[in-house]
Symmetry: C2
Subunit: 291 residues, 2 copies
């Protein structure tokens, strides 16, 4: 099978930049596409791309294209590429939702060898400046094949991603979107609500004292609330149904735990002991998942 | 006014141990009281106490006593001390709830010069091994005077606590308990619920995939859930009313934010932008409160 020699990254933000930094000096020709010329100049100056352009055409000669635009531009960008790339070019993306994109790709007019992607890594920050060659080290990287991609494409793409230190998880796009609602989107919604609620607490003296006394626990629980709002909004709106379902499930759990707290202290203690030990176990058995 | 020369710490766990480690070599005679003789031996071997005992009597000759027992033993311990200490001895505690303790002290039979205390620092861990001389560095330390303590006592105690690097916040015990419900106890309850809910999610495939994909956001949001369950249970049960009120307020906020998400995307975006920026501001203007 033909080797991947040239890789293009469209969108040089936190994720795109980190992909390029991670693939530097690994033997690929790296191409960068960004909206702003200054970003291209910066990437060239940092030596993380061999060539750069503000036009998408440069990407079309690559063997593999990572679409790392904001999620609301992903479909548009893939569609643009679809009529221009070589037939053997593999296209992937990094959007945090996969259902809608795969639906679109599976019914696209000019078929492309697309495999959906979602690296489970990120920070509250955005932009090339905040990117890092280690961002994906030990992180999970979801792949959701489309009907146009084949096993060979999947193997080629996986081998590039593994060079970034990530671990591949292949799954169905619909399942993926439900799962990330549970562990990313709803927690973000929750973190926002926790901070917003304390800030807007009806008794202003208590609200102020609370924020004065807040320590590491509150800091950890509200860190997600600072996620780039433009990105947050897109994720939460596009995954609305799954987020609402997850919030509903959470409220049910809150009600049950509250009932135990009020009515049965013994069971309450057992429940929180069990959860504490399950949570500890989860993050101690895996390499990365240590506090 | 008479200087504080001898300080006793009752209970050599994370907090008591950290107080002793922080006060070491600061010119005080340090006494340690623990239930188990091995703990005393360890503290003597680590040179963090000058004398130790498994009996409370040793503490009674101190000028200042820190009661660092588990919260459900705090009142009992102060009561025991009340008939035995010198009349000028100052007693303080580190229990994370202040209302009930101050109620008790203010009506106690043998009045003691008690000032309630609550250092806003801690980790998920417990025990002398996990204690650290830096635990209170830059942390807030709440003091709630009782009717038996005077300004002079407050100044003496504050000066000792400031040697640990902590910042004093003087407040009313009832207000304190409501405020910590908002920023400590309810977030703990929430963190427990978030992990418990994903683990118990009705669709087992989704639950498993979600836990496989979980990354830093979920890790941060569920870290509090691992707080020592014995301690968690005591705090949540003893502050039950305030926790339930805070959970109610949170559910109200979740409902409102959900309504915006569903009905008014523009307002939703504004709300999460505002919250993100308020949260960022809070943790950038203060020394310690930086991510």
């Amino acid at each position: 099978m033909a080797e991947i020699k040239t890789i293009a990254v469209i969108g040089l933000g936190l994720i795109g930049g980190s992909i390029l930094k991670g693939l530097k000096d690994k033997g690929f020709e790296l191409l960068g596409i960004a909206r702003r010329k200054e970003t291209i100049d910066q990437a060239l100056a940092e030596n993380i791309i061999n060539k750069g352009s503000t036009g998408i055409e440069l990407a079309c000669k690559a063997d593999l294209i990572f679409v790392c635009t904001p999620i609301n531009k992903t479909i548009e960008t893939i569609n643009l590429l679809s009529s221009k790339v070589k037939p053997e070019t593999i296209i992937t993306d990094v959007a945090s939702l996969k259902g809608e994109i795969l639906d679109f790709i599976n019914t696209i007019q000019s078929p492309v060898r697309f495999i959906g992607g979602h690296p489970m890594a990120g920070t509250e920050n955005k932009g090339l400046d905040t990117s890092s060659e280690n961002l994906f080290e030990e992180a999970k990287w979801v792949l959701t094949p489309s009907k146009w991609s084949n096993q060979e494409d999947l193997i080629k793409l996986s081998s590039v991603i593994e060079k970034l230190g990530a671990k591949i998880v292949i799954t169905d796009p619909i399942q993926h979107d439900k799962a990330v609602a549970l562990i990313s989107h709803m927690p973000l919604f929750l973190s926002q609500s926790l901070f917003g609620m304390v800030k807007a607490y009806p008794d202003k003296d208590i609200s102020e004292l609370a924020l004065t006394l807040a320590s590491s626990g509150f800091r950890d629980m509200t860190r997600l609330a600072t996620t780039n709002p433009e990105l947050s909004k897109d994720m939460l709106i596009q995954n609305k149904e799954n987020v609402v379902a997850a919030v509903k499930e959470l409220k049910k759990y809150l009600d049950e735990l509250e009932k135990e707290l009020i009515e049965n202290e013994e069971n309450f203690e057992k429940t929180i002991e069990k959860t504490a030990s399950q949570r500890k176990k989860m993050y101690s058995s895996e390499g990365k998942n240590v506090l």
